[in-house]
C-alpha cells in the first residue's frame, strides 16, 4: 500500500505552489458550535426521547457518513491530484474539519450515553451488553487514531502551509498519514454501523 501511494505521488518532490489565503480555525463558525452545545444540553435537560434521538442520530449519522466518505472516496482521490489541487483542497477542507468533527463526536457520544440511560439499554445484561462494549471499543480505537495521529498531522500541515515557503516533502509525509488513518476510521465506521443497527433493533 505504501509503495502504491508513493507511485501515485503522495510524497511528491518539493515544488513551488501557490497557497490560497485561509484561516486555520474558521472563527466565524465558532458560534454555530456554541449553538450545538447549548442545544445538546437542552436536549439532555428535557429528559425526552425525541431530542436525544435527534442529537444522537444526526450527529452519529454525519460522523459516520463523513468518515466513510473521507476514508473511501476523498482518501484514495487525494494522491491522484496535483500538488496544487491538493493544497487548494486541504486549505478549504481541513479548517472546517477541525471544528466540525470534534463537535459531531461530542454531540454523538454525550447524547448517546444519555439516550442509553433513558431507554435502559445501558442496563442490558451480558451477553447482549457486549454490543455496547464493542461500540465503546470501536469509539476508543477511532479516537486514538483520529486524535492521536490524524488531527496532529492535519494541524501541522495547515501551519506548514502558512509559511512563506512550505516544505512540500514534509506536507507529503504528513498527508500520507491522512490517507491511511482516514481509511482506518472508515473501516471502523463500518463496524459502528453494524453495532448500532443491531442495538436499535434488539
Amino acid at each position: 500500500m505504501v509503495g502504491q501511494a508513493q507511485a501515485l505521488g503522495v510524497a511528491a518532490p518539493p515544488q513551488r505552489v501557490a497557497v490560497p489565503e485561509f484561516e486555520i480555525v474558521p472563527v466565524r463558525a465558532i458560534p454555530l458550535v456554541g449553538v450545538v452545545v447549548v442545544g445538546l444540553i437542552a436536549a439532555i435537560e428535557s429528559e425526552r426521547l425525541w431530542p436525544l434521538e435527534f442529537f444522537h442520530i444526526v450527529g452519529g449519522g454525519m460522523w459516520t457518513g463523513i468518515d466513510l466518505f473521507v476514508g473511501f472516496i476523498i482518501g484514495p482521490i487525494m494522491p491522484r491530484l496535483s500538488v496544487q489541487a491538493r493544497i487548494e483542497f486541504m486549505t478549504r477542507f481541513m479548517p472546517k474539519m477541525l471544528l466540525l468533527m470534534p463537535t459531531l463526536v461530542a454531540m454523538t457520544l454525550v447524547s448517546g450515553w444519555q439516550l442509553a440511560n433513558f431507554t435502559g439499554d445501558i442496563a442490558v445484561a451480558y451477553p447482549d451488553h457486549w454490543w455496547l462494549t464493542a461500540s465503546y471499543i470501536v469509539v476508543g480505537v477511532m479516537s486514538v487514531v483520529a486524535i492521536g495521529i490524524l488531527e496532529p498531522a492535519n494541524l501541522a500541515v495547515l501551519f506548514e502551509l502558512k509559511k512563506p515557503a512550505p516544505d512540500g516533502e514534509l506536507i507529503g509525509r504528513l498527508m500520507r498519514r491522512f490517507v491511511y488513518t482516514a481509511g482506518i476510521t472508515g473501516l471502523m465506521q463500518v463496524a459502528t454501523l453494524v453495532i448500532m443497527t443491531r442495538i436499535a433493533t434488539w
Binding site: 470534534p102 495521529i149 501541522a156 516544505d167
Partner: protein, 135 residues
C-alpha cells in the same frame, strides 16, 4: 525548524497516555450501571498520570523549540477539549454514576484534556522555527 532527532518522544508518550485513558474509560463504561471493579482503572489512571508527568518533564527540558506556537495551539485546544471533557463529566454526573467511579472518570478526563492539547501543540510546533518564549 527544530532538529527533530533532538526532541524527546513527546507525541509517542502522548498517544500511549491516551491509550491508557481510553482502556480505563472503556473498562468502566463496559461495567456501568453494575458495580465497577476499580483495581484496573486505578492502575491505568495512575500510569496515565505518571506517563504524562514524565512526558511533561522531558518536554520542559527542551530548550530550542517554537514555544510561542506551542502555547498558541496548546491553549486553544485546551479550551476546545476542556469543553468536550466538561460535557462528558456533566452527562456522567446526570447519569447517576457512583462517586468513586465518577472520580476515576473525572481523573481520566483531566488527563485527556491536558494530553491532547500537549500532543497537538507539540506536533505543530516541532516543525516551526525555534523561538525564545517559554510561555
Amino acid at each position: 525548524m527544530v532538529k527533530q532527532e533532538r526532541l524527546p518522544p513527546v507525541a509517542e508518550l502522548c498517544v500511549a497516555t491516551m491509550v491508557l485513558v481510553v482502556i480505563g474509560g472503556t473498562y468502566i463504561a463496559a461495567h456501568v450501571p453494575r458495580e465497577v471493579p476499580l483495581a484496573l482503572p486505578t492502575v491505568l489512571v495512575v500510569a496515565a498520570f505518571a506517563l504524562m508527568a514524565v512526558n511533561v518533564g522531558l518536554f520542559a527540558r527542551v530548550k530550542e523549540f517554537a514555544w510561542g506556537t506551542f502555547w498558541l495551539v496548546f491553549t486553544r485546544s485546551l479550551a476546545g477539549y476542556g469543553v468536550i471533557s466538561g460535557l462528558l463529566v456533566y452527562v456522567f454526573v446526570r447519569g447517576d454514576i457512583p462517586g468513586d467511579v465518577m472520580g476515576f472518570l473525572a481523573a481520566s478526563l483531566v488527563v485527556y484534556a491536558i494530553d491532547i492539547p500537549l500532543l497537538l501543540g507539540f506536533s505543530v510546533a516541532r516543525y516551526q522555527a525555534a523561538g525564545p518564549e517559554r510561555g
